[in-house]
């Protein structure tokens, strides 16, 4: 395992974490944030501590979690085109969020948790439970049934969303469309707190199985012969990755491409060892989303673009380049 590689990616993550909060439509200097009048909450301090820092932290964590899940899922499903949302998580959580947005009676808040977030997570959780139940066989979970069930649920959810769109009022549609574009324009730290109970254990499960994931690229019998309990690994990585993606999407919406592109980039630059690929994907995914978000809030300042647009605009061409460079054939 190459620890130096992980440290380099971690440094990049830290550099982005330190620099990003200083970039935005309003110019802020370190003197304004750390200068005199220590006790007073000046506008510069408010922007820095209550908007920029939580936003950058959310981008780093959400991007990292999506890339980490993508890396784990691509080897688990032995498919280079899989991303965190392939399993229908995006569609089901979007449906959950849309139902909440449509019905004002469902608008509630419990501490750091909002009802949109809760229903989005519930939708994703229900989807995970459904596809796991459908694909669970006595001999273990069938990865092909998992994929097919996920794609089918995505299609069903898209149909349901279209139906609801047909009957919904314009205001709800605008709110939903904004949610769908993905955004990390949060204020304060509540969203970060609400993210952690599910996301931290889910990511820990993925990191814990990095060693086993190396064997999952071999065929099942070979992996079992090496001593890997593939049923347990498959179940844990599926649930861990699913919950990580569900908790992220419930807060930032379905931000695409980070979970697809970043793991490929890491494997291309730093090898195939999952014990390196997983942490490096987390660091690069976090740094990438934070940079995309920095671009989202600055390129048409004072207005902002949803970050999902930036990731799609940058990610799409990059993915096509990967496709034509034959890299995907070798995973």
């Amino acid at each position: 395992m190459n620890k130096k590689t992980i440290i380099i990616y971690a440094l990049l993550f830290c550099v982005v974490a330190v620099i990003s909060p200083w970039i935005g439509p309003e110019s802020i200097t370190p003197a304004e944030v750390f200068g005199a009048d220590a006790g007073a909450l000046t506008p510069a301090k408010e922007i820095f501590w209550l908007q920029r820092i939580p936003r950058v932290l959310l981008a780093l964590i959400a991007g990292g979690a999506l890339a980490l899940t993508g890396a784990a899922f691509q080897v688990l499903f032995r498919n280079p085109l899989v991303e965190p949302f392939t399993l229908g998580i995006s569609g089901s959580s979007s449906l959950g969020a849309f139902i909440t947005i449509l019905f004002p009676c469902l608008w509630m808040r419990w501490g750091p948790f909002s009802s949109v977030q809760l229903f989005a997570a519930l939708g994703a959780g229900l989807c995970l439970f459904l596809i796991y139940t459908l694909s669970n066989r006595p001999e273990g979970v069938s990865i092909y049934t998992l994929l097919l069930a996920g794609v089918t649920i995505s299609i069903i959810c898209s149909g349901a969303i279209l139906l609801l769109t047909y009957f919904s009022d314009p205001h709800s549609l605008v709110v939903f469309q904004h949610w769908m574009m993905g955004g990390i324009d949060i204020i304060g730290y509540q969203s970060l707190f609400s993210l952690s109970p599910l996301l931290l254990p889910a990511m820990a499960v993925l990191f814990f199985h990095a060693k086993e994931l190396n064997h999952m690229a071999l065929n099942d019998e070979m992996a079992m012969g090496h001593g890997v309990d593939i049923k347990t690994v498959r179940r844990n990585v599926f649930i861990g990755g699913g919950l990580a993606a569900a908790s992220v999407v419930s807060i930032v919406g379905p931000i695409g491409f980070v979970g697809l592109i970043v793991p490929h980039a890491v494997r291309r630059m730093s090898g195939l060892d999952q014990r390196v690929v997983l942490p490096c994907s987390f660091f690069l995914g976090g740094a990438s989303l934070a940079l995309c978000d920095t671009a989202a809030r600055t390129i048409i300042a004072p207005t902002e673009l949803p970050v999902g647009i930036i990731t799609a605009v940058i990610g799409g061409p990059l993915f096509i380049r990967l496709l034509v460079s034959r890299h995907l054939h070798k995973l």
Binding site: M1, M222, D229, L272
Partner: protein, 262 residues
């Protein structure tokens, strides 16, 4: 030692069944498992390796029921090389062989000096030392097979279960491969090898198990199992039974059933 007792296995939706009354794989010997296509050789090996659980019967590894053991415990005693050995990722040979030490490593799979020595030894014994940096996609079929065998040897098992390991090797490499198996058996390892090559089994195995249509036709020393009666029963008139000129072991030759045309 692996002991199988009253094994009965059937795949869902299939009439075919494997029925083996008693069968054991001992240390310090090479056991050949032969038989025509669909006779149940690979299924028997999978059951012995604990990869699939039979419908009836028990498999014991060193006296303990194999289904009560964790996969890591099994992997420390049994090295299993399946027939299909592909990888979705283009690992280097060394990365692949290091994976064989999985059962001995901690949470993050760091290898110690002893693990690295065993990896080097495994590469050396399979003649893959000079190819350790090569990627799997850069290897020939035979080299790939040897790389996977090295990863299995890195498990330091007591018993090797190999499913058609020489199917993609040229005759020179096949001879080398079986000599390697003999060396391992002489060092105390038990080897069970599924093969279609009756001649290699006859020459290199101390014991042979002959399966046909899911049943045990015969087992014992090669000269007993590879008899004219058994060969005719399984392969019909298509093969000719002869004797090896140097060792007097039985061997098979294809018989020309149609008139030769040129």
């Amino acid at each position: 030692m692996i002991e199988l007792r009253n094994i009965l296995h059937r795949f869902p939706g299939s009439e075919w069944k494997l029925h083996i009354p008693d069968f054991s794989i001992q240390t310090s010997e090479i056991l050949g498992i032969i038989g025509p296509n669909g006779s149940g050789k690979s299924t028997l090996l999978r059951i012995a390796a604990g990869i699939i659980k039979p419908l009836e019967g028990t498999v014991r590894l060193s006296g303990k029921k194999i289904n009560k053991l964790k996969r890591k415990e099994i992997a420390k005693k049994i090295g299993y090389l399946p027939q299909e050995t592909g990888s979705e990722y283009d690992y280097t040979v060394e990365e692949l062989v290091c994976m064989g030490r999985y059962s001995y490593t901690g949470t993050f799979g760091a290898l110690g000096p002893l693990d690295l020595k065993i990896v080097r030894d495994s590469l050396k014994s399979t003649d893959m030392e000079n190819m350790s940096e090569r990627r799997l996609s850069q290897l020939s079929g035979g080299e790939k097979k040897r790389a996977f065998l090295a990863s299995v040897l890195a498990q330091s098992p007591d018993i090797l279960l190999l499913d058609e390991p020489t199917s993609s090797l040229d005759i020179h490499r096949q001879v080398q491969f079986f000599h390697l198996l003999r060396r391992l058996a002489n060092q105390g390892m038990g080897v069970a090898v599924v093969t279609h090559d009756v001649n290699f089994a006859s020459l290199f195995c101390q014991k042979i198990v002959f399966l046909t249509n899911g049943e045990l036709l015969s087992s014992g020393k090669p000269e007993k199992v590879i008899s004219a009666k058994n060969i005719k029963h399984v392969y019909g008139e298509a093969v000719l039974l002869g004797r090896h000129p140097e060792t007097d072991d039985p061997y098979l030759l294809p018989r020309l059933l149609l008139k030769k045309t040129k």
